[in-house]
Symmetry: C2
Subunit: 396 residues, 2 copies
Amino acid sequence: MSTVVNPGLEGVVVGETVLSNVEGEVGRLTYRGYDIHDLAEHANFEEVAHLLLFGHLPTHDELGDFNRRLASRRALPSGLLAMLHAVPRDAWPMDVLRTATSAVAHFVPHRPDGSHETSVDTAVDLIAKFPTIVATWDRMRRGLEPIAPDPKLTTAANFLYMRTGEKPIPEAEKALDTYLVLLADHSYNASTFSARVTASTGADIYCAVTAAVATLAGDLHGGAPAKVMTMLEEIGLPEKAEPYVRDLLARHEKIMGMGHREYKIRDPRAAQLEQMAKNLTEKSHTKWYLIARALEDASNKVLQEAKPGKRIYANVEFYTAPTLSSLGIPSDEFTCMFACGRVAGWTAHVLEQFSHNRLIRPQATYVGPEVHPYEPIGKRHGQNGATNGKSAGANN
Amino acid sequence: MSTVVNPGLEGVVVGETVLSNVEGEVGRLTYRGYDIHDLAEHANFEEVAHLLLFGHLPTHDELGDFNRRLASRRALPSGLLAMLHAVPRDAWPMDVLRTATSAVAHFVPHRPDGSHETSVDTAVDLIAKFPTIVATWDRMRRGLEPIAPDPKLTTAANFLYMRTGEKPIPEAEKALDTYLVLLADHSYNASTFSARVTASTGADIYCAVTAAVATLAGDLHGGAPAKVMTMLEEIGLPEKAEPYVRDLLARHEKIMGMGHREYKIRDPRAAQLEQMAKNLTEKSHTKWYLIARALEDASNKVLQEAKPGKRIYANVEFYTAPTLSSLGIPSDEFTCMFACGRVAGWTAHVLEQFSHNRLIRPQATYVGPEVHPYEPIGKRHGQNGATNGKSAGANN
């Protein structure tokens, strides 16, 4: 049987969605038909989450209701806080977010078969709790008492408040809010696809969103902004960006946060984030934006010399680093902040998957040894003499 | 653009594997070339895990080493036990296994970027700890103190011992051991695919295996055996199987545990499990096997009347129910037992994915509203008048 193996599933269309559209050729991203630039400028995260979950932007009354629903779900149950108190302080925030996401389910009523309702209500539960989990762990690992959410604050303001105990300045709230809007959905990215694969077996929304958090953690997905921050710190000054890039390329290493499989021109979210990083740098007297800008320019200058006419663009991860860093968020929490935005998309995708489900179960081609007889333990040859000695980590 | 949407990825070949081969047409399952019947009869779970991870069945010395490695990793860190003590007693065992799998990572050293080593060592850590987690939660939720693993016992014997404090009879150990062998791997099933999707972003083995546990929970995957048990309990006596099936079909409901997308003839694991269930029924004086057998016969009798010449076969989930039930394992832990076997396959697949990785990132077709202008909040119409009012749960 001749079969084509497609290990990245590139170009394979696995489903339909009404939630967002990535038009890579023209650099456009829309949520349910709204351009991301319009949403980033005019709508807040709660409006966008409402759009994704309910299908339309909320009226004043609907937004008020939705905000009250979120506020009622933000606090963490005391049992969940007790669990987090038992986690070692050096645990990675993304690992803790994954564990806590999974653990939220223990404090929600379940059906006789053990599963939970997959509904707007449980979606709201997860969207509301994500920033609380991240801020709570941020304080616990610093040896500080967690701060309860303030029902009068937005998602973005609450997060900043729960981290520090101080209500944020309007520019900081707006920057984080816009960041969450920009990151809220992106069609079938790897973590969203992961959530849909999990939901496709009939597993509930807590299962699916836990899987999505797990998948977001990788360097090829949500893990990139922290690596961008490491670069910016290593560079230290804008004028050192060019020698840094030349050195990186001489060692055949990648520049983190540049390029994207989907976008052929600049990622529209990068432009929004760049502007925000620029504003915040002025407000917070930090240098990260200036270094990032110098790094993008230097990357393109060096690339032009090697491959004239070719351009590489910053992706959404790139300007995430200076933006979140200027807000005082440590780099090992960047991926958690990505999750705080994307959980709106994940939950909407899980509801969409449930609404017309089909088990996602692809095929693999077997390329291992032919069928052969069993050898009793006394007649085996061990590692060196094995006839089928390919280890799992050394596949042809 | 005309694109074919394949929502189940049926027939799409997403990768190559040397680990196992499902030949559905002839009803054959092999792990690295060994027929599942040979392995079920002659090899134990530790030998099979070794085969999957290292590529060959172990010699006496290798098996001794591997058993010592497993034994050294079985106990749960005290911090993890403290976390489990904070979980409400009515939490679903599969939810707890998912949380605990994620939490194991907090007690393992991580790299500066937060990620953990993905290696045979961390694979062994997970394979060793799964049965301990399940047995520990089994006791905690009954209000009993957990029992520490015994380094002299096998995986199967340890599980039964940690549940009850008594060393199992040889028949019980053998039955559970064979069950774990049969369930250890099954090519790119949904949970294994989920683990590989997660690992494909560069996320570590703890992320990937947590995602796999999340995915296994669904009714269309590892959740089925508990539903089979509910059926067996509802039937109660073998002679009531036929009227039960007729009633089910009259209500257009499915018979859980019958049929499989991959196998055109009987799942080879079902035959092995049936034999085990039969032996155990005699030993344990339970009736579950007899009811299951009557149910499979009745299903085929009724199907023959409706569609002559057609046959439906029991799948691996079907005889899992009487087997595990005869071992005293409650039905809401069945999926956890599936995970205790499959974790050998999951970890081997994650190592294989890491060895030649490519980000798994399929496409979706956008079928939502066209791009349209933004309406300020005062000009929106809300739920009833929305022009793009499809909710996430009501996609076209």
